[in-house]
Chain length 337, copies 4
């Protein structure tokens, strides 16, 4: 690891990216560097009140912008990029959510197509109180309000896909992307397989919080200042996105139908548990079957996401994942603050 | 409510039931009664060690026996039966799990049919330590062991379906059945719509614990002594199974593909939240989208199950669900101990 | 085979059945007998014009009545029942179709649940001209009409399921039921595995015709006089419904999601082709992959149906299926006319 | 339309493309031109016998090469590109098929992930007799052979996607791509919405024939000389791929699960029928429900494909689709021969 540097990046509007892949880098990082990056919200900051209907103020396909891509020196296909999320700070005192025509789990969509008219498009504005750690919901048709915990997360983070592809930032897949998993919060390390020279890391789509599945298709969308520490793990491939925090390891599956997301995530976790513990495959399958959790990320994006999670404390003498990089990055990020 | 009585029932082998519906009652209950019932494990107690392969020692379709049905006086179609789970006590010092040919999430099955040979059938025996509150996993191919928390649950509980149907106890659906949801533990109240005169409640398939999704298709299967308190809520229909505990309300969806289970559960929860709070429908959709959780029950049974859950503390001034029956039953059950 | 007899049966209203399984037989048949049976339409004949909205004139769950069950002498679990459809004659000069709230492929449903209001319920009345062989469509909102070919079929036909189950006649599954496959027309032989003593054959739900998938959930529904010839094939089990006509063999899969119906049907057909030709499994897989057709039955019922079909002429020297019973029954039915 | 020209193109190996989008054009066409193009088979011509296992002789992701893209003058976003397939001539006297690890409908895959080992990888070589119009299947484990009809088709044809995306040629979607529909044969006109300036048409992946669903994941793969006539329809958008031949119109849906492909295709066809006939939406839904066919393209690619088809003869006085371009292009292509 080279001497750690802190890179700060704030995109101007024209620099925002709408694909993973197919873009030139906006900056270079070295393994071990810390990156502080401003991310716009999924509406490019254009939805600020009830009158700003997303389908009117946003121009397709300019939705869900990401900051980047960042070229990571020495990252090559076949390596893994470890990305530790040190902090996610909401950049404004409000967030927004909405319904959106033909998008979301409880509506007909472009793919689950029906002959009914779409649900009404509507915007909700949330107040964010960083001190109190709350996000305030206001009903639109009645006077109800309620405070929900502020649990800031990054909805979209990924590297360039392989095979010369460029994919919309709305999509989650093997290379990350619009994973929309609440577990992508401060204290978590994300592992992504590198598909192209330089990895081409990018991120955006912060949420002050979201429910599991992101039922209406939109979280409490926020701009953020996010701090990451990255490290390249040479010669170790990673097929699907993985997460690690102090207590658990997690595999992410992205697919339709939703059961295939479950299968992918659990197939990957069974293999990972086998590698870390030395358990034979069916033994690892059995242990994950009794000890695992399966939180849902999204049930609205082009691919749905499910995580397969197991607590480290429920594994028999596990080795450190990826040579202990999670602990290393967490410490170096902590040292910086 | 009539004076509470405690009914105790222990089936002899020939009394075990393999369907919901199509059976005569084994006993009668009144609204307000407490029932203490012995339940056999899903293998009928016939799998006791590594040599007892389920496909050999069990005869199809005699799997997943339930105790009952119990005729509940005064329960009529259009009513709701509230069933509070007061306690679930493992009846033996061991539990078993297994793989099973063409069953489970990470194998080809009778429906996700492939041309590959099935996975090897294998049995795992777990030690249960009620004092320590642990379930001990032993690997079969290596020497690994690890203790998991004992979190006893009822896998299968339901009433007779409507329309003169009788359904295998392997199936979860609107009337309950093989829900395989870890939330069905002591302290929880289950609400089921009544479809036939007397409701015809039955239960079985205890698990010392299970992971979310029950990946391999089998939990840590146990016989139990389970104590329930029941109450009939007259004139209030319930479409899909619902749960309540001290902190949360939950709707259960049962379907394939898995996203339809998500849709059913969230559609039901949005309506329930609207009823309890007075929120308009899209406002309730928005709140559930940000505040909800979506734990998975099973991804292996004929219908998959997902729960939509919201904490009562995240709802604006909710009314008590079903007139506060959960608190009432919890208290009366507590008084009994 | 015993001497062939012709049994005629016309149910009175109270005899109509709404489940497969769980019913006493209405008549007995012997292997080799011919049965002429009147079947009501799926609405019990209660929808006769635009004002007869099905959700108002029908009482749930009294939909999709079948005539039967018929006890077939000598049919035992492990046998196969061959049912040759000799003729299907529309019983009236009209048929009806409709939309139905929350049912159909292009609407949200009870399972693909959304928050939108349902599509409008509406009835279409078709004129049936047996001489001309046409079914006349009349638009409801404009003056358009068009003649479609009369291609009468039986939508629902099956035997009792196993495991002491009784299933709604709306459901298709291993035992047949609401298959809604246009291939179930005169000249076709259906093979069903026998699950209970006497098989308990029943049928109904004639369609003057239907499109593939039955998109709106309802065909051109008719009452019929249907003539069948049956034969018990001893000691030969059949797992999923199979069809045979003069030119092709077909396997039927019933499942959700739709790809599992495809998998089941093709898995079964690959095995059947292997049995009839002596081709090794992967060779049979390869041949079916290039020579097979996969017509869709329904994409609206509780299980969707797909057929896997291969022309006998594209199989290398196939043996006669089920010992040539199709040809035998076709001849004996022809002799009767 | 400008004076028709015939452009001939034969790619050298380095010119083959593996994405739709993200590529520079290899040639320019004008509206009205005829293109004669050589297409390689899906294995790049590298699989020529039983010893050439695809996973060994091909390097990922260099599979399924297409010839192009061709820049079509005057094609702009919001237009439709009509592509008439005049002829598809197999370029060699053989074709190949294979199983491929973790690909196909009757095997576990990367997404329907299981813990079983993959099916054996194996190659089948077919003899193609253009005179006789046959494709000869040879079993690999026995001596069986059988002749199947030669029904040449183009598996992969599309334009660049929008939103700055570049997609692998393995994928079918709104812009066409790996549709794998047997209907893409000589005599058919394909309509694709234009997403980028110049449309960027490309094609490849000929099949001598394939079964519906392409069960094993691979057709009878051939190199071809294919002749197309193209026309730009200005100011008329097309959302999903559509087909027209002399007797029928067809809409194509691409999605997982398979029922969503059905929904997309039928939703589009209902709208198209309404536009061509003046039928109100529910009337068009009803007519398609009774008159439509739903042939399956593939059940193996990243998106599955289903077509919704209706015969022109079953529509009441339909207008000519897209102003009659199908007839025009068919004639001009015929004139050229």
């Amino acid at each position: 690891m080279t001497a750690m540097e802190k890179i700060t990046y704030r995109p101007v509007r024209d620099e925002l990216a709408y694909t993973f892949g197919g873009r030139m880098p906006v900056a270079h990082l070295c393994s071990g560097d810390v990156l502080e990056v401003f991310t716009e919200d999924c509406f490019g900051g254009l939805v600020r009140g009830p009158a700003d209907l997303p389908s009117q103020v946003c121009s397709m396909p300019y939705l869900n912008p990401v900051s980047g891509p960042f070229f990571v020196e020495d990252a090559e296909p076949g390596d893994t990029l470890a990305i530790h999320i040190a902090s996610i700070v909401p950049a404004r005192e409000w967030g927004v959510s909405s319904t959106f025509p033909h998008f979301g789990a409880l509506t007909s969509t472009s793919h689950t197509a029906t002959l009914q008219p779409p649900l009404e498009e509507r915007v909700w504005v949330y107040g964010i109180d960083r001190q109190a750690g709350t996000v305030r919901f206001h009903a639109t048709e009645t006077d109800h309000t309620v405070d929900l915990p502020l649990e800031a997360m990054i909805g979209t983070i990924g590297v360039a896909p392989g095979g010369m592809e460029a994919r919309s930032t709305i999509v989650p897949d093997t290379y990350g992307g619009n994973l929309d998993a609440p577990q992508l919060r401060a204290g978590t390390t994300l592992y992504l397989g590198v598909n192209v020279h330089g990895a081409m890391l990018a991120l955006g789509d912060g949420h002050a919080r979201q429910g599991e599945g992101e039922a209406c298709g939109v979280g409490v969308e926020i701009a953020t200042t996010t701090t990451l520490a990255v490290e390249v793990i040479k010669g170790v491939p990673t097929l699907w996105p993985r997460l690690e925090n102090d207590t658990a390891i997690m595999s992410i599956g992205c697919a339709r139908p939703l059961e295939d997301a479950y299968r992918i995530a659990h197939h990957d976790l069974v293999g990972w548990v086998g590698t870390l513990t030395g358990l034979e495959t069916l033994d690892a399958y059995q242990l994950v079957s009794q000890a695992g959790r399966a939180p849902i990320g999204n049930v609205c994006d082009p691919n749905y996401t499910i995580l397969a999670v197991v607590d480290k404390a429920l594994l028999p003498e596990p080795a450190a994942a990826y040579g202990g990089v999670h602990g290393r990055l967490r410490q170096s990020a902590a040292g910086l603050r």
